[in-house]
């Protein structure tokens, strides 16, 4: 029993991480109909920005309380990554919408490589994994095989809060209304006086901030960050967003948890063949797509001819 609970805990943490990444994918897709493949690397940049801030604080304000330290690390990550997101949107993604849609994908893929290689080459000792500080107190509660950690619970809850916050912003504010309007019909929204460019930038800032949070959370959870996590994390985030149904925040969350579940169950059910767990997970994704071609929570399928 305690073993199953432990598996659930791990799966939930993992799912939360994937969901946070997937929310970004789904937001960008909703507003601009594009897949921003560098999003996984954006997460990685977030954790490195946080680490840099931590180092800086550590050398100038070593006396700072942990709470403020965490806050500053988060702020630095969010600021850097939101700026990066807005820059990407303004300089690359909006201009590229004139070309074939796959171009955005290729361009963002290349951007991802540029980000990855830049960290590897220019961050101090960037080609090696870096220790990320735990920051939160490491109280834990042990019972049999179950090990409940205080910091994990805090991380999970704050992840949930962030998603709830995004949801509130989108559904309850004027800005959110404008975002939804643009997502529904760009031209009509512009006719109604919505500033398109502003909305795009705001969406990218929002989605990227969530990614920055995911990056810091990733660092605090694993206590280790490295430059290469972006590609796979991006692929998984994208998968999660698509499984759930693109353009739908609930779908992204659902997809994230499903993917984490698929990866964990592979190890639980077939420990003898644990190397095959990714084969199992991706096979399940293919089957899932064959069954629900537009994701579990389908987009409203009204198509103008």
């Amino acid at each position: 029993m305690d073993l199953i609970l432990q598996f659930c805990m791990n799966g939930l943490m993992l799912g939360m991480m994937y969901a946070l990444v997937a929310v970004g994918f789904t937001l960008f897709f909703g507003v601009l109909d594009v897949i921003v493949f560098s999003h996984g690397d954006t997460v990685m940049i977030g954790s490195f920005a946080g680490l840099a801030m931590y180092w800086w604080l550590g050398s100038y304000y070593p006396e700072l309380a942990v709470f403020w330290m965490t806050l500053w690390v988060l702020l630095a990550a969010v600021a850097v990554v939101a700026l990066l997101g807005m820059l990407t949107a303004d300089a690359m993604i909006v201009p590229l919408r004139k070309g074939p849609p796959l171009n955005t994908l290729l361009a963002t893929m290349m951007l991802g490589t540029v980000l990855r290689e830049s960290i590897r080459l220019f961050f101090p000792d960037g080609s090696n994994p870096q220790t990320f500080p735990g920051l939160l107190p490491d109280w834990s509660w042990q019972s049999g095989n179950l090990n409940l950690r205080f910091d994990n619970i805090v991380l999970f809850c704050s992840g949930a809060c962030i998603i709830a916050l995004v949801h509130l912003v989108i559904n309850r504010t004027r800005l959110g209304m404008a975002i939804r309007a643009v997502a529904q019909d760009e031209e009509a929204a512009q006719l109604m006086g919505v500033n398109f460019r502003f909305i795009v930038l705001a969406t990218f800032a929002l989605g990227s901030s969530v990614a920055a949070f995911a990056g810091v959370m990733n660092g605090m959870y694993y206590n280790e960050i490295n430059f290469g996590v972006g590609l796979l994390l991006g692929a998984i985030g994208f998968s999660s967003a698509v499984i759930g149904g693109l353009g739908n925040v609930y779908g992204a969350i659902l997809g994230g948890f499903i993917f984490a579940f698929l990866q964990t169950i592979g190890v639980v059910v077939m420990p003898f063949a644990s190397a095959y767990k990714d084969v199992f997970a991706f096979g399940a994704v293919i089957l899932l797509m064959a069954w629900r071609p537009t994701g579990l929570i389908a987009e409203p399928a009204s198509k103008r001819v």
């Binding site: 590229l96 290729l106 361009a107 290349m110 994208f238 499984i243 084969v279 991706f282």
Partner: protein, 385 residues
């Protein structure tokens, strides 16, 4: 000046352009140092600029459009001439061989994505299935290389059929996910499966045709020609076959149907075009081409392992297609040269090469969003498609 423009819009334009390409590729392939490589790359930009200044670009375009057969012949001759120029240079012949292998695979991808609009993010996987099929059939079952080559294509097409249901039911980004999942899955599968050689891969027997062993150098008295020459000749033949096949498909009513399916499924269904049938045709044909190319590539490489056929490689194939201009099969050839050669030439900048290369591709996409040579709209009158 006007006369010059007229002159170059005739057949002379094709020949002249081909000569320039031949000369440039010859020297670029031989360039080893940082400075000449940079100079040659700038030279391309500069030549383009000069041609634009002299209004010659329009004449060349007209020349190529007006004399397609001649232009294709010129390209084949250029390739053959390059192969011959480097007859003793193993390394450059190997590069040319890789370029042609990738071109054939991307031609397959072009049928899927460029014509029928079927998204495929697992081109390298089908390329790899072709490689593995040929390798396993030859080593385990003792099948001769030529049937092995064909089997590579056939098995790739057959395994593609497994994916048909999800690929056909989904569209856009959803189809992208299905194929992406397949690419990731296949890589892991090959890695962990003992029977397929596992992570350390398997050695592949060389191609041999009518008693001619492809892995031996050709010796004429004093001179010794590289064995890669034979592979390149075979690749050139395959490429010509694949090219003319794809070209014929494009110009036939099949191509028309595929275009219709891509541009508007609903409308073409209303006019009685069977969407399923054409998507299946395009997907299978494309995978067949990729698989065949993979089988031949494996024989040239003599050793394959799962690390050659990752998701990143699939994205590489896709980027070739996008850079060349989706749907334009000549653009494919040009872009393959770019994508294979540039990172290789960037070896001189060592650990910075991928950074610079990706930045370069990024710039190209921003400045030429439709690819290097965008596909032109079909012309329905005048007998030319």
């Amino acid at each position: 000046m006007r006369r010059m423009a007229v002159f170059f819009s005739g057949p002379a334009g094709c020949v002249f352009l081909a000569l320039i390409i031949l000369g440039w590729s010859n020297f670029f392939l031989r360039a080893e140092e940082q400075f000449p490589i940079l100079v040659y790359m700038l030279l391309v930009v500069f030549l383009g600029f000069v041609a634009n200044l002299l209004h010659l670009d329009d004449s060349f375009r007209a020349s190529v459009a007006g004399h397609e057969r001649l232009w294709d012949l010129c390209l084949i001759i250029v390739m053959a001439a390059l192969i011959w120029l480097f007859r003793e240079d193993h390394y450059n012949l190997f590069l040319l061989g890789s370029i042609m292998a990738y071109s054939i695979a991307v031609l397959g991808l072009n049928v899927q994505l460029g014509y029928a609009g079927v998204i495929n993010f697992s081109c390298a996987s089908f390329f790899g299935i072709g490689s593995y099929t040929a390798a396993l059939l030859m080593t385990r079952a003792g099948i001769p290389p030529l049937p092995g080559l064909v089997a590579g294509g056939v098995v790739a097409a057959l395994i593609g059929c497994v994916l048909l249901l999800p690929v056909l039911r989904t569209s856009g980004h959803y189809a992208a996910l299905v194929t992406m999942a397949f690419a990731l899955l296949l890589r892991v599968f090959l890695d962990v499966s003992e029977w397929f050689g596992g992570p350390q891969g398997i050695t592949v027997q060389p191609m041999s045709l009518f008693g001619l062993d492809f892995s031996r150098n050709i010796v004429f008295g004093e001179t010794e020609l590289s064995f890669y020459l034979k592979y390149d000749a075979a690749f050139l033949l395959l490429l010509c076959l694949a090219f003319s096949l794809v070209r014929r498909v494009e110009r036939s009513w099949i191509g028309l149907a595929l275009d219709a399916v891509r541009s508007d499924e609903t409308a073409s269904a209303c006019f009685g075009v069977n969407i399923m049938r054409w998507k299946i045709t395009a997907f299978t044909l494309g995978n067949f081409l990729s698989g065949t190319a993979g089988a031949m590539y494996a024989m040239m490489l003599a050793y394959i392992s799962p690390a050659n056929f990752t998701f990143a490689d699939s994205l590489l194939f896709l980027s070739i297609l996008l850079l060349g201009g989706i749907g334009n099969i000549r653009g494919v050839l040009l872009a393959t040269v770019f994508v294979v050669l540039i990172p290789e030439k960037f070896q001189v900048i060592q650990e910075y090469r991928y950074l610079i290369y990706s930045a370069l591709v990024l710039l190209m996409i921003v400045f030429r969003p439709m690819g290097l040579l965008p596909r032109r709209p079909r012309v329905y009158s005048g007998g030319r498609a």
